[in-house]
């Protein structure tokens, strides 16, 4: 084969790889409750191009971790701005620290070692803790948008973890 044909072959193969990776994420995300969220979370992460389903799950758990840290920072900031909410903020702090220190490490170890059901437990609990925190404000939550994000990411991640069962 001459040089040009070889180059064409290479470009075609590269494109096939790129297209099929794109559709690996798309195929996986189609099976989750929020296709768009799933795709946007994974596409934005460079690790997803070479990840299998376990890898995609771990990337999303990392997103959960990031959102948890962000929410904890937000909670810390609110103590000064909304001192009347101290009790609810304390409870939220407890809940989100649980996600960070218990649920996330559990999910990472479980998925890495091939017992995804404990990963599913951790991911489900992230949603449970977010809801519990939200409820503590009795309808006047300053964290609603973050709560909803966590619930959505938790649902998408759970769907992907279940593919490993």
């Amino acid at each position: 084969m001459n040089m040009i044909k070889k180059m064409k072959m290479m470009v075609m193969v590269m494109m096939m790889v790129i297209v099929s990776e794109g559709s690996m994420i798309e195929q996986t995300c189609k099976e989750t409750p929020d296709f768009n969220l799933c795709v946007s979370l994974l596409d934005s992460d460079s690790r997803s191009s070479s990840a299998d389903i376990s890898g995609l799950a771990l990337i999303l758990i990392d997103k959960i971790k990031g959102l948890t840290t962000k929410t904890l920072n937000e909670i810390n900031g609110l103590y000064k701005k909304r001192p009347e909410m101290k009790r609810a903020l304390d409870e939220c702090s407890r809940r989100y620290k649980t996600i960070l220190n218990a649920d996330v490490p559990e999910a990472i170890e479980a998925i890495s070692k091939g017992v995804p059901k404990f990963g599913e437990d951790g991911v489900i609990d992230a949603g449970v803790e977010a809801s519990a925190c939200e409820r503590g404000f009795k309808g006047k939550s300053p964290l609603t948008s973050l709560t909803k994000s966590m619930q959505k990411i938790s649902n998408v991640t759970r769907a992907i973890v279940r593919m490993l069962l």
């Binding site: 649920d103 559990e106 070692k113 091939g114 809801s131």
Partner: protein, 583 residues
């Protein structure tokens, strides 16, 4: 960091002083134990503990899951279990260890198996004990190797003269079984070896749970000497679509009677044996069993008609119950079943209380005389905890009535009640589309009259029923103009607690009994767990609840009937239960 280490050393010194005569025994492995438990995540339960059990097995702190390697050796029962030394969620798992002479009171020992060789450096997961013909117990368990692959390893007691078998040594030949390119075993789906059994050819067989895509299977390995294992070309059994088979168990049962059968047994002369295959399904988080025959020539399990090893198979327990495992109790010639019940609370609550997971009371298990299901009943030894009996006889529960049972510690009790149902001919016909008892129970709470009933017990109830857990029956006619009935048993947790963060799923089961005869219900109530047995063990439901009001002395017990027909309470016996040494 140094402060942490110092305070841990200080705590440890205090512990060894307090434990007095255990000092010598613990010293050999205390440094390992200390390393295992050093963690800022581990909270010594200093908060009030309304949910810890009085007589159900649970470690003093942290996470527990699967029961491992249950056995009896030289008259002492052993229970090992998956335990996290560092916190109240799954992780860092080791084999913790306790012993007992009565299956109810337990003495703890240091962890028996923890990461120490490449073949288990990343985890020591579930497994089983096989008692060799010379009487020596051997453990086969799943280890996680440096590549995070699942492999099977062997361990044996270091010192057989230690009645508590506290220390175990691992073979340098581990792993005994591992996934490779030749055998094509899925390295992240290869775990939970069973008790091994001997074939006619004097070869050992063991099965390990696995999957290939959605096919669940029990991979068979054989060995002549228990050290060199060969994969059989065919699995003992498989099922397409059931997903991963965790915690398989395979054992013989006698066709008639309730005695146990040793795992390798071919049966007595003139004794008919059946075999039971059980799996824990990853997909549904329930334990299922099938009854069938063991073809010893082909090394295959053949389910009886009507049984399929998937989510349609009968369950040991229709509530929170997983990773169960049986062993043959040679001392009392019975087969005993252990099962793990996890929490229904949020992880934040588990971390705060400092623990997660309990074992159910061990159950004797045998084949029903119909041959179509297994029957379970709490081991008799639990009855030794019974004190101060309350007895009600021949009370009529009118429609819309309840009857409080006074004189027992309602949060820690054993209750057994016999109901006589009247007016069976007036029972509604069951809707033919109602094939899932769990749906029947969750769609109709106790305020709904349907069929005959609901009638049963309200346990862990607050005085004015702001909180209660109801365990009850509904009876339907199978068809119009039929004399056959369908009995549904429900365990309803939906009103169990004012706390909104718990899993309050309702559970249900069909009970294969004839309601022309008295209908029985037994409940073991223990602060945050209710184990219910309908029809003398034909249907079992375990649930976890966390009342805020109905705690301790503020917990009440009622019999109730919210149906439109009266129900007779032929007898209700309730006992306060003494506390046991639960680990």
């Amino acid at each position: 960091m140094t402060k942490q280490v110092c305070s841990n050393i200080g705590l440890w010194l205090l512990l060894t002083l307090l434990l007095g005569n255990y000092v010598v025994d613990l010293e050999a492995s205390h440094h390992v134990y200390k390393r295992l438990t050093q963690s800022s995540n581990t909270k010594s339960p200093s908060v009030s503990q309304p949910y810890r059990t009085g007589f159900h097995f649970q470690p003093p702190k942290n996470w527990m899951n699967d029961p491992n390697g249950p056995m009896i050796y030289k008259g002492i029962y052993h229970l090992f279990y998956q335990w996290n030394p560092k916190g109240a969620v799954w992780g860092n798992i080791v084999w913790a260890h306790s012993t007992s002479t009565d299956l109810i009171n337990w003495d703890p020992h240091p962890p028996a198996i923890f990461p120490s060789q490449p073949s288990d450096i990343n985890g020591c997961w579930s497994g089983s004990v096989t008692i060799l013909p010379d009487g020596k117990p051997v453990i086969l368990y799943t280890g996680i190797n440096p590549k995070n692959q699942q492999v099977q390893n062997i361990a044996e007691p270091k010192d057989l003269s230690d009645p508590y078998l506290r220390e175990w040594k691992k073979s340098p030949l581990n792993p005994m079984m591992a996934p490779d390119a030749v055998n094509g075993i899925n390295a992240s789906s290869f775990r939970d070896p069973t008790t091994a059994w001997l074939g006619q050819d004097k070869k050992w067989r063991v099965i390990i749970g696995s999957k290939i895509h959605r096919r669940g299977l029990a991979i068979t390995y054989t060995s002549k000497d228990f050290l060199k294992w060969e994969k059989s070309p065919e699995p003992l059994h498989y099922d397409d679509g059931s997903g991963m088979w965790e915690c398989p168990d395979f054992f013989p049962v006698t066709r008639f009677g309730s005695k146990g059968v040793e795992t390798s047994s071919f049966g007595e002369p003139h004794e008919i044996l059946k075999h039971v295959l059980k799996v824990s399904l990853d997909d549904t988080k329930h334990d299922y069993y099938t009854i069938g025959t063991y073809d010893r020539i082909k090394d295959k399990f053949v389910p009886d008609n009507g049984f399929k090893m998937d989510g349609t198979a009968p369950r040991y327990d229709y509530g929170k119950y997983y990773a169960s495992k049986t062993f043959y109790d040679s001392a009392k010639n019975r087969r005993i079943l252990w099962g793990w019940t996890n929490e229904s609370s949020s992880v934040a609550d588990d971390v705060e209380k400092g623990w997660s997971g309990i074992q159910t009371i061990p159950r004797k298990i045998w084949l029903d005389r119909s041959g179509k299901q297994l029957v379970q009943w709490p081991v008799r030894e639990v009855q030794r905890l019974r004190t101060s009996q309350v007895n009600l006889r021949n009370k009529v529960l009118k429609p819309r009535s309840k009857l409080e049972v006074y004189g027992v510690t309602a949060a820690q009790a054993d209750v057994e009640v016999w109901f006589k149902v009247r007016g069976l001919e007036n029972a509604d016909v069951i809707n033919p589309s109602w094939t899932d008892p769990q749906l029947i129970c969750s769609q109709m709470n106790v305020s709904v009259k349907s069929g005959l009933g609901p009638f049963g017990l309200m346990v862990l109830a607050s005085k004015n029923l702001e909180e209660y857990t109801s365990v009850y029956f509904r009876i339907f006619k199978a068809r119009q103009n039929s004399n056959k009935y369908v009995v549904v048993m429900c365990s309803d947790q939906s009103r169990s607690s004012l706390d909104e963060d718990n899993d309050k799923t309702t559970y249900g089961a069909f009970v294969d009994i004839d309601p022309h005869r008295p209908v029985s219900l037994r409940a073991l109530i223990d602060h945050s767990v209710v184990e219910s047995f309908g029809g003398k063990g034909r249907a079992c439901i375990t649930s976890r609840v966390y009342p805020k009001l109905a705690v301790g002395t503020k917990s009440h017990l009622f019999a109730f009937n919210y149906g439109s027909q009266s129900v007779d309470v032929l007898s209700l016996n309730a006992w306060s239960m003494k506390s046991a040494q639960i680990s």
